[in-house]
């Protein structure tokens, strides 16, 4: 394990590792086959910094105004030891609660607030609460959880609360998108539930590693969002069983990081070689060459969850891959990878491979229809 960590550290360079977040988790479920992203996320590489250094647009740049509005909402919900949060849980979920112990795990009381230290602190607090003989009500704020991704433990840094009542833990997810007339943007809800599902799995892992019952973590997650057009919070219970099962399956199927690392040439690194002023000094061509040793699997939707989307897009375009045209086109042309291959099959200047015969016939038909259309126009 330490050998694997050493190799991942070498891949990243001396910069501190980044934890998994909502976007990388979404990437895990939507594009699990991308080896480049899997390696970089396992090593905690700052992908955004790489995109900036290579002069590509940053698809995930966040609006400071939106971030502030989100933070204000979160603070409002969590203010006064979670008073508002408790009110919501009481009113909406009908829990007979009067008070709960609020523990902020971001304040670890030590100089070293690194992820491993905060994780150890979270672990102690969770286990203490779980093993306490009294049925305590506890709100754990800013926990750091650990999840095994591709055979390698990664940290999750949720801005989320784990809430324990009568021995069962619930994951509470605070999001600033509105729930309008009881409905919200399905894509945003799906992302939030995926994220929460990862926390449920991580928390269960922790329980089970200590010989406790993983079912003490509820599969129902509690979503706190603004209600309609106001900034007043509302709580909804979402059954995350499907997502938890799907994510568990994805995690089990992921290619292990070891073989992906083995496939890289020796001494490969994505280090930006920051100088004292934190400026990257890595030669851009050299970095691009290093990136290309780890195969990517680009789709246009990558921009929703991966900082490298534009880097991979220009690469895919240079190679003439059908992927740049979108997954609908790619699925329509299953079995062919390159734009030029598909076009040569269509104009009948290329002999199809045995598994391309049907597709080639359909493409030739489309080509004939197009020719007829142009001629009669």
């Amino acid at each position: 394990m330490s050998l694997l960590n050493d190799r991942l550290d070498a891949l990243r360079g001396p910069a501190p590792a980044k934890g998994h977040d909502a976007r990388t988790l979404a990437a895990l479920t939507t594009n699990p086959g991308c080896a480049r992203r899997a390696l970089m996320d396992a090593a905690g590489v700052d992908k955004d910094a790489i995109a900036v250094h290579l002069g590509k647009p940053r698809p995930l740049a966040k609006s400071s105004i939106a971030l502030r509005n989100g933070a204000v909402f979160e603070q409002k919900v969590k203010a006064d030891g979670g008073a508002e949060l408790l009110r919501l849980l009481r009113d909406v979920l009908g829990l007979p609660l009067h008070e709960a112990a609020h523990t902020d795990l971001a304040a670890v009381g030590s100089q070293d607030a690194s992820l491993p230290v905060r994780h150890a602190y979270t672990r102690t607090a969770v286990l203490e609460a779980a093993r306490s003989p009294r049925s305590v009500r506890t709100l754990l704020d800013h926990p750091i959880l650990q999840l095994t991704v591709a055979g390698h433990p990664v940290y999750l840094e949720p801005d989320v609360v784990a809430f324990q009542v009568d021995g069962v833990f619930h994951i509470i997810e605070i999001k600033s998108f509105a729930v309008l007339d009881g409905r919200a943007d399905p894509a945003k809800v799906a992302a939030a539930v995926t994220q929460a599902a990862a926390y449920v799995i991580a928390l269960r892992e922790l329980f089970e590693s200590e010989g406790l019952d993983g079912d003490n973590v509820s599969h129902d997650i509690i979503l706190i969002t603004p209600r309609n057009f106001s900034r007043n919070p509302t709580a909804s219970i979402v059954d995350a069983r499907k997502k938890i099962a799907a994510l568990t399956r994805q995690l089990n199927r992921l290619t292990r990081i070891g073989p992906l690392l083995d496939a890289l040439p020796p001494h490969t690194t994505f280090d930006l070689a920051l100088d004292r002023g934190e400026r990257p000094t890595r030669d851009a061509k050299d970095l691009t060459a290093a990136l290309q040793t780890a195969p990517a699997r680009y789709t246009p939707t990558c921009r929703h969850f991966c900082d490298l989307a534009y880097v991979c897009r220009s690469e895919a375009r240079d190679e003439g891959l059908i992927d740049v045209l979108g997954s609908d086109i790619r699925d329509d042309l299953g079995g062919v990878d390159h734009i030029s291959t598909a076009l040569r099959l269509a104009d009948d200047t290329r002999r199809p491979a045995p598994d391309q015969v049907d597709l080639a016939a359909a493409l030739r038909h489309a080509h004939a229809v197009r020719t007829h259309l142009r001629e009669s126009a």
Binding site: K62, S176, I322
Partner: protein
């Protein structure tokens, strides 16, 4: 999506040049549409930061929410603009009673809202929902209130869901029907990038022009920044320009420095004008390109139906005027769903009959076919109650893939009112022989109409006849059992749904 459009996308990608798709317009574009470009305040729901709108390219109206203020003034101004625009359509025509439709009045012209992209259509819907329950202040005219604006925005957004309606259209959709680019559909949603593909500056390819345009940090070929057209602002704009300005405004406000407050307010207006103006110009350029296309006859027919709906809704507003309910009741929802499905099928079938490109697309999806008439039996009859009825038959040979069933009714652009029923499907050689029976406009045994029957050697293109999609029967509201929503609920807006014919 069809294999034909896939092929054209591949060609566009390889040649770096947008490819021609449909060469006709499927929607009526009015003489005086209202271009509506909203920008939302980041991190909030349906709270406009600014709106640029107007009916003349040279005269954009910019409405801006003051720094950290509520959009109250903006919304009232927006209501004034939009409602005055809607109110300017007053002329009506008298239509005589015809078959099942009673005589009625109909507006000769109607409002049309154009937005940059599909997300802006969703925004119109959300803004409509946010505003339509707003109570008008006392002693004010409800016909000019923010609540009425919300009702109209909801009206537009509801119709944007209705296939073929032209009340609210996204320019990126219209452009993407006319041209196919060598990028993904997701990227086609960016108006400036889409236009760059379609109409690149001289000396560059569509691909390169689009790449330059889409980077919000770099000026486009015209030397201006083409930001994402909204309704969400570009995050880097928020962080680097808007946020610092708001902070400076806060400091000035805390110090009570009125000169600085005024200056920062002016700068905010300038900033948003600079943000929106390139999109404004892009939108009018897009409209100019689209206006060169000839309209198909069905676009006029559907626009006439839209004008009927506009008239009906105006009448409703003056007689009752309650806002649309948050949720449809079960009966209205079922009717609406059935109507949308039918409208989609009829819209598609009409488009295929009136647009050669759509017909060609359908040939690659198996919903249409082209072939040669190889045999004709013009005297074929079937037994009828009062003697034999003339049902001429013909054989059509096609090499297109056939995905039809016996009994399907087909029609072709050569004469859309002549319907042909599929009677037999037989593989022959490399293709298929279809036995077709003419079922309409046949004439009688004694007086056959020969113009309805194709001749041997004719080339035909056929697809499903639009009339193949008929409206399912719904029980009247009184006869709907309570288990299905029942008669007890009776919102007047639901009555509009019932009078609606597809």
């Amino acid at each position: 999506m069809s294999r034909l459009s896939t092929l054209l996308r591949l060609e566009a990608a390889e040649t770096q040049t947008a490819q021609d798709a449909s060469l006709v317009s499927h929607f009526h574009l009015t003489e005086r549409p209202l271009l509506f470009l909203p920008l939302n305040h980041s991190g909030t729901e349906a709270t406009p930061l600014a709106v640029m709108l107007g009916t003349e390219p040279a005269r954009p109206h910019l409405l801006v929410t003051p720094p950290h203020g509520r959009p109250t003034t903006l919304l009232q101004e927006l209501a004034d603009h939009v409602l005055t625009y809607i109110d300017s359509f007053r002329n009506t025509e008298r239509l005589l009673a015809k078959s099942r439709k009673p005589a009625r009045e109909r507006h000769t012209h109607a409002p049309q809202l154009l937005v940059a992209n599909r997300k802006s259509i969703t925004y119109v819907e959300r803004l409509g929902r946010a505003l339509r329950f707003t109570e008008p202040p006392e002693d004010s005219d409800p016909a000019h209130s923010v609540g009425r604006l919300g009702q109209w925005l909801t009206f537009f957004a509801d119709h944007a869901e209705h296939p073929g309606s032209a009340f609210l259209l996204a320019l990126t959709d219209l452009l993407a029907t006319r041209w196919i680019t060598g990028q993904s559909r997701l990227e086609d949603e960016h108006l400036a990038a889409l236009l760059a593909w379609i109409d690149p500056p001289p000396g560059t390819t569509g691909l390169h022009a689009a790449l330059e345009t889409e980077n919000p940090q770099l000026p486009g070929p015209d030397g201006r920044l083409h930001r994402p057209a909204g309704p969400a602002t570009d995050p880097s704009f928020d962080s680097l320009e808007l946020d610092p300005l708001l902070t400076a405004y806060d400091i000035a406000a805390a110090e009570g420095n009125t000169a600085a407050i005024a200056r920062h307010t002016d700068r905010l207006n300038d900033l948003l004008h600079t943000y929106l103006r390139p999109t404004w110009d892009d939108a009018w350029r897009a409209l100019g390109l689209l206006r060169t296309l000839p309209e198909i006859p069905d676009a006029q027919r559907r626009w006439a139906a839209d004008r009927d709906r506009f008239t009906a809704y105006r009448t409703y507003l003056t007689t009752d005027g309650r806002p649309q309910p948050i949720k449809d009741d079960a009966v209205s929802a079922a009717r609406r769903l059935a109507r949308l499905e039918l409208a989609q099928a009829a819209f598609d079938a009409h488009r295929a009959l009136e647009d050669p490109f759509f017909m060609a697309e359908r040939r690659t999806t198996g919903e249409a076919l082209a072939g040669t008439v190889t045999d004709v039996d013009a005297r074929h009859t079937i037994p009828g109650a009062r003697g034999p009825r003339l049902r001429p038959r013909l054989t059509l040979h096609t090499t297109d893939p056939v995905r039809l069933d016996l009994g399907h009714l087909l029609a072709g652009p050569h004469n859309p009112r002549v319907h042909l029923a599929v009677r037999a499907i037989t593989p022959r050689g490399q293709g298929t022989d279809l036995l077709l029976e003419v079922t309409t406009l046949t004439g009688t045994v004694n007086k056959p109409r020969s113009d309805s029957v194709p001749a041997v050697g004719d080339q035909l293109e056929l697809t499903f006849a639009p009339e193949f999609f008929s409206r399912p029967a719904f029980p009247s509201r009184e006869n709907t059992p309570w288990t299905h929503g029942g008669p007890q609920h009776n919102h007047p807006a639901a009555a509009l749904e019932e009078t609606e014919k597809p």
